[in-house]
């Protein structure tokens, strides 16, 4: 039995953290370094920090802020947002980040994934896929923070990304983001069954049961959540929380 990783996803917009619903209407949550300190104390398994406006604003990652955050983060940290070159990847990894997450830059071609994996190892390269349900069945991959359809199918995109060297896939259901009514288990499972690297389920987590389902029914190796860890109660008051060690241990990958 292996414990599935439970990963808070923190969305960076400018200098603050926000949370979205269906990738829209970002609500301010607070200061990122403060949030990281709280997750250190609570003993989170791992964190994922995504700058949701870097690509759309056409700017580089905020290296200074990443370095500041990494300096305070005593658990594995992934960063995504605006990463377009191997040099940027190297700079981010050297600042104390374990994994670089590539989304929009992997949609035009997989050279960046290939070069990054060759230089830094597959364990450092996560390909993040944002998918939305199509009107008449199936799913489509969206780029640029969920604003641009690509015509790609998430399963074949995930397969190609892994073949190019991605060490992990983060699969995010845009329609479920921020709703707390459960992961898109079909989407998660279709990707998890198609690749032999760990798949992180994202989008829709509201309860521990949802997380257990993503692992047992969705075959995910890890589960990510935003709202569940930053909001509290039906009025969505901002309160950073995490699961207890017993609760995270209950989300485990049982060998067949």
């Amino acid at each position: 039995m292996t414990k599935a990783r439970v990963i808070p996803v923190l969305l960076l917009k400018g200098k603050g953290l926000v949370k979205t619903v269906k990738f829209k209407n970002p609500v301010y949550i607070g200061d990122p370094v403060n949030a990281i300190r709280i997750f250190n104390d609570k003993g989170a398994d791992e964190l994922m920090l995504l700058d949701i406006t870097a690509t759309c604003d056409g700017r580089e990652p905020n290296f200074r802020m990443i370095e500041e955050i990494a300096g305070e983060c005593f658990m594995p940290l992934g960063y995504g947002g605006g990463v377009r070159t191997v040099e940027q990847m190297g700079r981010i990894l050297r600042s104390g980040v374990e994994k670089v997450c590539i989304n929009s830059a992997a949609l035009a071609g997989l050279d960046l994934v290939r070069q990054g994996a060759r230089q830094f190892g597959s364990q450092a390269i996560v390909v993040s896929i944002d998918a939305k349900k199509k009107l008449f069945g199936g799913y489509e991959v969206y780029g640029r923070s969920g604003t641009k359809g690509t015509g790609k199918d998430p399963v074949s995109h995930a397969r190609a990304a892994v073949a190019a060297g991605a060490g992990e896939i983060l699969i995010n259901a845009i329609d479920r983001d921020g709703l707390g009514n459960g992961y898109d288990l079909n989407l998660v499972r279709s990707v998890a069954e198609a690749v032999d690297v760990p798949v992180i389920a994202c989008g829709g987590a509201g309860t521990i049961q949802h997380m257990q389902q993503a692992v047992t029914d969705g075959h995910a190796s890890a589960v990510a959540a935003g709202s569940m860890f930053v909001f509290h109660g039906k009025h969505r008051a901002v309160l950073i929380s995490y699961l207890s060690a017993e609760e995270t241990a209950s989300i485990s990958i049982v060998s067949a």
Binding site: K3, R5, G43, D45, F74, P76, G96, E98, A245, I253
Partner: protein, 204 residues
């Protein structure tokens, strides 16, 4: 003062960050002269075995480390690839390792129907199998963050300090005199890792 060896293989920055948080002075260096003076060493590392060995040799670090570790018996902690480099060889590469410990690094082979993946990535419980200043008995079960495809197989089981399981049991840590290695990343295992690094800093 802890000297962290920089040989171009991954994340010495996060080890320094955690030591800073613990109030322990540290320096990152690739200068053999600095290593000659060091009182305590950490050999970190993420990446491929041969690349790691080649870097250590090209930078003139393997010889000085040999001297400090084998002759001067300076306490050294290898982390992840750093631990594997301390062995005689690895199935991952063709170059000989540092050979400080009678062990080899082997690739995980998990049953195909087990849903276990390689690399072994995530938090795994670890048990201590001998007494050591490096691990202090805790109320909570020890757990650490791992990312690796190869594990160290010690020829002499007496060297094994910590075990964990991924499909089968493997050595998550060894200790043989002044030479210690851990397969996981203490620098990314918050309170559990902090305790281990603090023990290494203060009790050796």
């Amino acid at each position: 003062m802890i000297t962290i060896i920089d040989y171009g293989m991954g994340n010495s920055g996060s080890i320094k960050n955690m030591l800073r948080k613990l109030g322990v002075a540290s320096q990152i260096t690739s200068d053999p002269k600095v290593i000659e003076e060091a009182g305590k060493l950490i050999l970190p590392g993420v990446g491929a075995f041969d690349a790691g060995m080649a870097n250590l040799r090209e930078r003139g670090l393997a010889a000085v480390l040999d001297q400090r570790v084998k002759a001067d018996r300076v306490p050294i902690l290898g982390i992840c690839l750093g631990m594997q480099l301390m062995t005689r060889r690895s199935e991952e590469g063709g170059l000989p390792g540092l050979g400080w410990i009678d062990a080899e690094a082997r690739r995980f082979s998990v049953p195909p129907d087990s849903r276990l993946k390689v690399p072994h990535m995530g938090w795994t419980q670890v048990s201590a199998c001998k007494e050591s200043k490096l691990v202090t008995p805790a109320d909570e079960k020890l757990r650490y963050y791992f990312v690796h495809s190869y594990f160290v197989d010690c020829a002499d089981k007496v060297d094994v300090l910590l075990t964990a399981s991924h499909g089968y049991e493997f050595a998550a840590g060894f200790e043989c005199g002044n030479i210690m290695g851990v397969q996981f990343h203490p620098e990314k295992s918050h309170k559990f890792g902090m305790k281990l690094l603090q023990n290494f800093a203060l009790r050796y």
